[in-house]
Amino acid sequence: MAYQPKPPAGWIKTNFTYYKHSGSWAWILHRITGLGLTAYIYVHIYALTSLTQGPKAFDDEMKLFSTPVFKVLEWLLFSLVLYHAFNGVRIVLVDWANGARYHKKILTVVYGLGVILFIGMGILMFSAHGSSIVASTK
């Protein structure tokens, strides 16, 4: 009898052990950031329910969100958005614009732009001058 690797244990193991190149990492990161953002939407909707409990409840919550821990979390959340959005554009280019011939170069741009904007956002959020800009837009 032929030996048949059992799903799903078989393919989960294959996913872990198979050789990974930049394209596979791009896909894995896209999945993880996608799941992360989906999870965040639920947290976000849940957080907004404080609106139904009056202005004080909402203000208290906003105060909690401006503590350093939450600011760092927000900054990390932004990195998920950056990657998922830019890699999404990369996938569109691959499927619709000959990008399959240049997908590794596009990936370099995705990472490069992502890191620059992530750092930029960090400066904006955490420097005294930057936070005043952010505050003034609120």
Binding site: N98, A100, H103
Partner: protein, 235 residues
């Protein structure tokens, strides 16, 4: 110099699970092919070691195996292409049924290949000589026509691992090969076959197939052309 091959073994008459066996072999230099080492293991140490090979020159596509985690042809992979300072891990193509040792069941692969009608369909009466095609039109097919059906791509694809019904990159490449042939009349039938959730749309552009293909075919590009044509059909 000594190298160690760590080969996955499975004998359907004795074993319930595959296991690994190490062979310590003598290699002249780093230009020795993995296939030569498999031969040495079989011919000198264990005649029951079973694997497929025929041409030994990257033409027939029969010796696709997994070497140090990635799919390649044993005959087209030299020692210096892999890390041989550690034992070299040799396994059958992933997520396929293992018949014996490195020999896997290819029936599902061929079934999916046949599903896209891998031959020219032309309904007009045969001309006196061959059916001509312009150079430009022929060039659009050259890359896809290099495929040797080794299955390295399809069995390296994460979409194939998780979806047994996914038609896979090799069959999609073949669908391109004929759907984009100006002499072919069955384009729409073929596009119907790949226009399903288990067809071209299951490709998530991971490029594992491209990394695995020993003929350096950019399979994902060809799948993207199919996707484009499928979308154009709807407009």
């Amino acid at each position: 110099m000594k190298v160690i091959l760590r080969i996955q073994r499975y004998n359907p008459e004795k074993d319930t699970e595959p296991y690994y066996q190490e062979f310590t072999l003598e290699a002249g230099d780093d230009k020795v092919r993995i296939l030569d080492l498999l031969h040495e293991a079989k011919w000198k140490y264990d005649g029951t070691l079973t694997f497929r090979r025929s041409c030994a020159h990257g033409v027939c596509g029969s010796d696709g195996i997994r070497i140090n985690g990635r799919n390649r042809l044993a005959c087209s992979t030299l020692l210096r292409d892999v890390n041989y300072r550690k034992p070299i891990v040799i396994e059958p193509l992933p997520s396929t049924a293992i018949i014996k040792d490195l020999v896997v069941d290819m029936s599902d692969f061929y079934k999916k290949y046949e599903a896209v009608k891998p031959y020219l369909v032309n309904n007009s009466p045969p001309p006196e000589h061959e059916r001509l095609q312009s150079n430009e039109d022929a060039e659009k097919l050259f890359e896809s026509a290099k495929c040797i059906l080794c299955a390295c791509c399809t069995t390296s694809c994460p979409s194939s691992w998780s979806d047994q019904n996914y038609i896979g990159p090799a069959a999609l490449l073949k669908a391109y090969r004929f759907a984009f042939d100006t002499r072919d009349d069955a384009g729409d039938e073929r596009l119907d076959v790949v226009d399903t959730p288990d067809g071209a749309w299951r490709c998530h552009t991971i490029f594992n197939c491209v990394e695995a293909c020993p003929k350096e075919i950019n399979i994902t590009w060809h799948i993207s052309q199919l996707k484009k044509r499928l979308a154009q059909r709807e407009m």
